[in-house]
Structures are given as C-alpha cells and as structure tokens.
Symmetry: C2
Subunit: 388 residues, 2 copies
C-alpha cells in the first residue's frame, strides 16, 4: 500500500533531542536509579494556590463554554493593567490576544508576518520552537551565531549586517532560553530602530519576563507599539500545564491576528483564563516573588559551582532558569557527554544541539528547575564524574 | 512609520462572517432586545458534572505540569478502549495524539501532509476552518460543490473526477457542519479506495461523531489504519471551552505528528486531559446520551417546521446540531436576510457564506443549540417575519 507522502516542511522541523535523553532517564528511573533532572524547562512548583482555587471556582460555576477568540475582556484588561503597574507602559487591551500558551502566540505572529521564502533573523543559540514556527510558515529562520561578547543576543550591528531583501522579521527572546541573558535596553532600542527603518517586524519573546534577578523589569513595548510581544502564564505565573499565553500585536495587525486565532484555535482554554485572573492578585504575587527568590538562590549557587567544575559561564545569566555552559574543557561531543553524564552519574542536562548549530557540540544547558538539595547532589555527582 | 507587511497568506483566511452578526445581536441585547441564538456552534449545556468534578479534583491534586506532547497515556488508552467498545475497531493508543481541541488535530494533519502548491479536496459547503488550515499550510483547498443528491458530501466519483497531479489529500466531515449529514459507509469505503489508489491521504473530521440520531455509530478507522481522523471532546462530550481533541494518525505518520505537536503546542491542557478521563465513565455517558436525545427532539421539531415555513431541507440531517436550509424562496441574499431576520425578528442564524461559495447566497444554517421553548419562539418569530 502506498503511504501518503510526508510534507517536505517536516524535514525542517527537528524533534527535541532532549526527549531521547528524557526517555533514557525515565528508563533508568524505572530500573531504580535516582536521576537529578536539570533538563526540564518547567518550574518545579505546582500552580500557586490562589490560581488553582480560581480555576476550581470557575469550573464549579460552569465556566466551560468558549470565550471570544481574543480571550476574556477581563483578562486582557488585567494584563494591560499589569503592564502599566510593573513597567509603566500603556497597552491597549484590544491589542492583546490571549492564546493557547506562548506557542499559540508564536504561531499567530509567524502566521501574520511571514510568507514562504522570507527570512526571520534570530540568535543561535535560541529556543528551538521559535525557528520551527518560522519554518512551519515556509519562511527561513536564519540563526546568527552569538557569543558571550554580545551576551548571547543579537545587536543592532548584527541585525544590520544580516538583513537582506528577503528579511521580514527579527525575533529576540529576553531573557533567552537557553542562555538566561536579556537584551540590554540600548541594544533593544537599536535593534528596534534598525528593523523599523527597514519596514520589518520585531518579535520579542518575553515569556521569562517576570523571572529576572538583576536590573530593572523591562518590556519591549516601552519602545513603541509597533512590536510583537509574546508572553505566557507558564513560567513566572507557574501555569505551564494550563497552556495559556498572550500576544501583544500592533493595532495595525490585531484584526489579522484575531482572524487567525478564530480559525486556528477558536479560543484559549476558558477555565485557564478564569484561573489566570487570580494571577494578578496580591496573594498570588507574593507566592511568585517568593518563588523567584528561590530561583535566584539556585542560580547564585549553581553558576559559581559550575565554573569551579571547569564549565565556562562567561556571562552571568540575568533570568529564566537556565545556565548555558561551555563544556569544551570536558568534551567535544556535548550530546554524547549528556548521555554519559546521565548513565554514569544520574544527572540529566540538555545538549546544545537542541538550541542551534553554533558551538552546539561544546555547550550544554543546565535548568535549575529542581530544589537546592538536588542541585547540591547534582554538583557532587558532577564532581565525581569529572574526577575533580 | 512603515508598518510591517501582512503575510500574503492572510488574504486567503476569512474571518467568520457570523461574528459580525453575533456582535450586532449582542448590541441589540445590550439595548434590551431578546434574541434567540441559533447561530452558535456550541452545545448549550455546561460540561457534565462528573467531568467538571474530575477537573476540579485534578487541580486540587496539583496536576498542573506539562504532559508528554502526545498526551496522558491513560487518556490515549481510554480513547482507544472507546473505539473498541463503541465501534468494534482496534486503535493503537500510540497512534492517538491528544491535541488542543480538534483545531490542534487539524493543524497537525495539515502540517504533516500538505506542502505549498498541493491541493486538498473538500465539500462546498463545509466548516470554514477546515479549508483555512489547508491554506495556512500554503496548500489549496478545492471546494467541490455538493448538493442534496449526494447528501452534501463528496462521493468516490467526485473525488476521482477532481483529483489531479497536485492533489495530496481529501478531507471529509461526517457528520458535517453545516449540513448535519454523514458520509454513507459505502461512499466512505469508495472514497478511501480512490484516495489510497492514488497514494493520497484521507482526513476525516469526526468531531460530531457521538451526535448521530439515525443509523449505526461509525468511524472511518473501520476502513483501515491509513486514515487521519480528527476528533474532539467539545461536542458529544460537551467540553468546548476546555479545548481538547485528538488525532488518530497512521503509524507511518505518528512520529512526524508528534514532532510537530512538540514544537507547535508542547502539549494539550493538563487539567482538561484529567477531566476528560471522566468522560468515559457510565455516569458521564448517561448524561451524554440524555443530551443527545434532547438534540434529537430539537431536530425532529425544527426540520419539519422549517419546511412548513418554506425553507428547503431536502435531506434529513443525520447528526450534529445543524440544519442547512435553502432560503431561496425568501431571499437571494442570505447574508442580508440573516441581518434582517435579526433586526426585525430577533432570531440569529448563520449565512451560507461562512461555509463556502456554492449556493451560499440562498442558504442559511440553523443551530439547534438552544432549548425547545426557545426554538418554538424562534419559529413563531420566523412565521411572523415571513408573513406566513
């Protein structure tokens, strides 16, 4: 029997390599081994009680029907108010679309902006899904190699140097996954100006926005409303499994994004939207701040310890819950290194290959999404594994 | 300031026209008018109590983290068991991907199967999102005009006649939105054979599957595992706002669909997945059966009454909760007719234009997603509006 052909686009969509590693970790655990999980890009906290309670209440009240495609007005207003309160930036609630996770927001932004044959510039390394959304739309994701000298972020100069006639957009992530670094405000303004001067689109992934440990809280929306901002209730607000995020789009593009949302999603989860309303209460905020401090303590323990173990961490990560480490003193095959570390020492981390091509063979990502006690155990195991 | 260009694909993605009508209906309601809503493609029942309770329990137990991209093993197994119990068909749980609504399943199927320049055949009229998923992937949705003679469905002959070198897939919906008609088993087998002989893909939207009022329950999976089946917890299981559906893919395509799910969604909602487990309990099933009977009674009241009012309903709808009616005796501009009916009589229905081009100007869709008392009121208002 002839099988239906698989679409050509699928050759450009890679699976997460860490999934193979996770499968092996789970097999080891099933066989009785203890594994320290530092490969997972998800907070190790359950959703905060006030948010869970709001979700349970919404269900008890029968809030199970579709919302409008853009989401509940009350939630879009609450997000807008939060931009005003935290960042002093006015955002029209009409320009906010609540989406099924940041994933949904990325799909809307890419779908509205990128045609086949066009190019979107982004940093290499960066979050793999970002380039896959671009590819899904038939456009090319041009990963620009970045290093410690630019805090693993694009710069106005890099954008200008790589822009060509095909380029339609630039995508940044601040803080970045896997590097945890932010785009400094001056660089962001410069990139915005370069993109604007060329009539292109600037897309900024701010899903780790609340999880920044140094410096002032910032949003790219402060630079003007002609930017596409991706955000999420998953990380700072701790609602991963609920699948809720949002897109802020320029007024000129909102109607198109809404049309796409109607067709591609219908709407985001209704119980999740009602639950998220409670994420903006003082009770929830107190929990989020406490958890952020826990992440900060983990970072402050992990980064110097990794340096002592011979990993290169040339710039201090500003936020998220990742350390992107140069393992070049230990290996020239980071993928194999991650599997050996798992098998021999019971520590699971993510190989660089999941984030791009640039120096991927010598880099690994540590996620500090596990408690300090487990981080200590991982460090002890690493010490022995590396014979130090 | 130059605005970022809107992607060319967006010209092929239409908004739902009914949204304009809904906005007007809401404005009238805000001004104190009573409107009978027969435009809404959503059951008027809240989610059944056992399902809601399971969702609340999952939240209380802290089930708020990501699941695997394909969904909970327990849920995929429960879906597989349900295929065995209801339809006597064996479906490997590994071939089931739980998705954010049927929307997610449609995106996966289109993404894995359709490249730019390729063609997917579907019926005109049909659910608008189906053709928009095809277009989003850069492929062409060729709407084939169908009428009462084929129960508003494609036939093997129509598929054979319209297949060309560009054609990669055929998409059916059984029961169909807007017509409520099923593809008869012999026609389905014939279409499957035509598609198979050409090495194409058959995609069957079965989201209204549980809501069939006549004939034996059926699934396209009975015809072989080389079919892509889209399904949903929204309609029969009454979980619209939770956004949960599934895709059954051939074993040859599961890995690709999973890769796409990892990148485009990460996973479906965790609380929704836990809640859906309770949809397969006897307590929930009793509620679903009772609700199905309520829909059947509405259909049995509405169809003859519409015929008496001069609407053409040439074939009895088998299922879903729609009547696709020929309003040609009353209008040659169904879009204007729907607005006039709303303004003058306070009855909201959907114009044919939302479902395609074929005879759209003389057709309207009535959704019986409101109680019999409201349906009686709508009929009385229609009678006066039409002067009968």
């Amino acid at each position: 029997m002839t099988r239906p052909r698989i679409a050509a686009r699928m050759a450009g969509i890679a699976p997460f390599h860490v999934m193979e590693l996770l499968a092996r970790a789970q097999a080891l655990e099933a066989a009785g081994r203890d594994i320290v999980h530092m490969e997972v890009g998800e907070p190790d906290f359950v959703t905060a009680a006030p948010v869970v309670e709001a979700g349970r209440r919404a269900l008890a009240e029968g809030r199970t029907a579709y919302t409008a495609a853009k989401g509940l007005t009350a939630l879009r207003t609450a997000i807008s108010d939060d931009y005003a309160r935290r960042y002093g930036v006015g955002v029209d609630p009409d320009c906010i679309l609540v989406t099924p996770g940041a994933s949904g927001a990325l799909l809307l932004a890419a779908g509205v902006l990128l045609d086949p044959g066009e190019r979107c510039l982004l940093a290499d390394p960066s979050y793999p899904c970002n380039r896959h959304f671009v590819r899904f739309c038939g456009a090319e994701a041009l990963g620009i190699p970045v290093g410690a000298d630019t805090r693993f972020q694009l710069t106005p100069e890099l954008v200008a140097a790589h822009w060509d006639a095909r380029t339609a957009a630039v995508m940044l992530a601040s803080p970045s996954n896997p590097t945890g670094t932010c785009v400094p405000p001056a660089a962001l303004a410069g990139i915005h100006a370069e993109v604007r001067a060329r009539g292109g689109a600037l897309i900024v992934d701010e899903i780790y926005q609340g999880l920044v440990y140094d410096g002032e809280p910032a949003t790219a929306l402060a630079g003007g409303e002609d930017v596409f901002v991706i955000n999420s209730f998953s990380k700072y607000f701790g609602m991963t499994g609920w699948r809720l995020g949002w897109l802020v789009a320029p007024a000129s593009h909102v109607r198109e994004a809404e049309k796409l949302a109607q067709n591609l999603f219908l709407a985001a989860s209704t119980p999740a939207q009602h639950a998220a309303l409670a994420a903006f209460t003082p009770e929830a905020e107190a929990i989020f701040v406490e958890r952020r401090e826990a992440f900060r303590r983990r970072r402050d323990r992990l980064v110097p310890a990794l340096r002592e173990l011979g990993f290169g961490v040339p710039v201090q990560p500003d936020g998220a819950f990742y350390v992107y480490a140069d393992a070049g003193r230990h290996t020239d095959d980071a993928y194999a290194f991650c599997f050996e570390l798992l098998e021999a020492a019971g520590v699971a981390i993510t190989p660089g290959i999941d984030f791009g091509a640039h120096e991927a063979a010598t880099h690994v990502r540590f996620a500090y999404t596990t408690g300090l006690d487990r981080i200590e155990l991982a460090l002890e195991r690493l010490r022995r594994f590396l014979g130090r």
